[in-house]
């Protein structure tokens, strides 16, 4: 507890920390300093509170798997990301903000479509979508913004198909999702965006109840809502969660990953020149590790005292897990700042760890494998159509990435 005695909140390092200028892929230098010097220490966040920050790979995995750590944002001490999300997460509960056993019960209602065999069965249609989008790119004008014309439409199309949501509404989803992941959104904006999405999925569930199809929302409607296991509103909120998660994360991995590869041409060549699925799968894991786009960290609160690295995290203390720096921990990944598509990166925590680890990860993996194994071989001369220093990065986002990625070929 020495930290709390010697440091007043005003003196603590503040989260989020700035990245080094000119180095968009590396985590903030101050995070490295903490990892090396005080791997479990206090930081200050927007509301003036001072949660613990966990920076070592091993500690992140140990604590995220520890039942003394809760994901419940209604508990005092929980380190909320923003004022808007504080209000949203306390009023709209989905399984990601619950602890077991409720979490397990609700999560299991939506795991079926993400089983490996079911996701593998989608691979041909994902390949088709990718090929169609690339055909359209090649037929259209250049330069073109890769985010708008490729990175965002692909995961949107896939998650809409899986959930049974008409893709024609994608402008509506993307607009509202953007409000939700923007760090500067006010509570009112955030609630309005969530509400609009939930209302829409609620209506869609009514349609599916009457006329179910072969999609996740229909399954929820028929198997969970009709049987009284879940309320229709809960099902709609779960749908919003999956829709949003499916849109933003994979899209940012595609665009930021492409930029990282364009900056590392030898690594890009490995992907361009291989048709070995294992090489591609390994490359995806390394890009997930290296980029760790979930840069706002996993948020939790301790529900019992925990001793770790000579510190005592007390019940009621907030805990932030800095998975971006955990994924650059030299103890876990030698020469962590090197993008090396041939390394074994599978133990990364880019999808989190513990029972809340990303539900959609099998789908994300297949999407990224298809993209990375197709895009650069079909457009081998792909290059950035602007200066690196003109790109705008999502420093203010819950998910890291680039706003636009102008490319040509």
């Amino acid at each position: 507890m020495t930290d709390t005695l010697t440091d007043t909140p005003a003196q603590l390092p503040e989260l989020p920390m700035p990245r080094a200028s000119g180095c968009p892929f590396d985590p903030p230098p101050a995070l490295r300093g903490l990892q090396a010097g005080r791997p479990v220490s206090r930081v200050r966040i927007w509301d003036g509170s001072s949660p613990w920050l966990i920076t070592r790979h091993e500690d992140v995995r140990a604590l995220l798997g520890d039942p003394r750590i809760s994901a419940d944002p209604s508990l005092p001490g929980y380190p909320h990301r923003t004022a808007g999300l504080k209000v949203r997460d306390q009023t709209r509960r989905t399984f990601i903000t619950m602890d077991d056993p409720e979490h397990a019960r609700l999560r299991r209602m939506v795991t079926a479509p993400f089983a490996i065999r079911k996701v593998e069965a989608l691979r041909p249609s994902i390949q088709q979508i990718v090929d169609d989008l690339i055909d359209a790119l090649l037929a259209g004008p250049k330069p073109v913004d890769l985010v708008e014309s490729f990175a965002l439409p692909l995961p949107s199309l896939v998650i809409c198909e899986l959930l049974g949501v008409p893709y024609e509404k994608h402008d509506f989803f993307q607009r509202n999702t953007r409000v939700i992941v923007r760090r500067t959104s006010t509570a009112e904006e955030l609630l309005a965006a969530s509400e609009a999405l939930t209302d829409y999925l609620d209506e869609l569930l009514t349609v599916k109840l009457a006329d179910p199809g072969d999609d996740l929302l229909s399954q929820l409607a028929v198997q969970r809502v009709a049987t009284g296991e879940m309320t229709q509103r809960q099902a709609a909120e779960t749908g919003v969660l999956l829709l949003g998660a499916g849109h933003e994360t994979t899209a940012n991995m595609i665009a930021l990953g492409t930029l990282a590869l364009l900056r590392n041409p030898d690594q890009l060549a490995l992907l361009r020149d291989t048709d070995d699925p294992r090489t591609v799968a390994g490359a995806v894991e390394e890009l997930l590790r290296y980029l760790t786009i979930t840069h706002s960290g996993r948020r939790r609160v301790a529900v019992a005292d925990i001793e770790i690295d000579g510190q005592v995290i007390r019940a009621g203390d907030g805990v932030v897990f800095a998975n971006e720096i955990a994924n650059r921990d030299p103890e876990a990944f030698p020469e962590p700042d090197r993008l090396d598509l041939t390394r074994d990166a599978r133990r990364h925590v880019a999808f989190g760890y513990g029972v809340h680890q990303c539900l959609g990860q099998p789908l994300a993996r297949v999407e990224l494998q298809v993209v990375y194994s197709t895009l650069y071989s079909r457009i081998p001369t792909l290059e950035l159509a602007t200066d690196m220093d003109r790109l705008e990065f999502k420093h203010d986002g819950l998910v890291y990435g680039v706003y636009e990625l102008p490319v040509t070929w």
Partner: protein, 64 residues
């Protein structure tokens, strides 16, 4: 090596199936199914990696 799985803990991340498809499968809800509790030594590395990446610590290894 002996393998045990704890199905109530499993969160259906499917990582074990990716690492060692000869030893692990998933049921219709994505929950782990153990295909062999006494895997062939050639699959041991995959099984160890599965246990290491399983986010829910639902895979237990007993070395014999």
């Amino acid at each position: 090596m002996r393998v045990e799985v704890d199905q109530p803990r499993c969160v259906a991340s499917g990582q074990c199936v990716l690492m060692a498809p000869e030893v692990f499968d998933q049921d219709d809800d994505g929950i782990v199914l153990l295909l062999s509790s006494d895997p062939d030594p050639v699959h041991e590395e995959g099984v160890r990696e599965s246990a290491a990446v399983c986010p829910a610590a639902a895979i237990r290894l007993l070395e014999n």
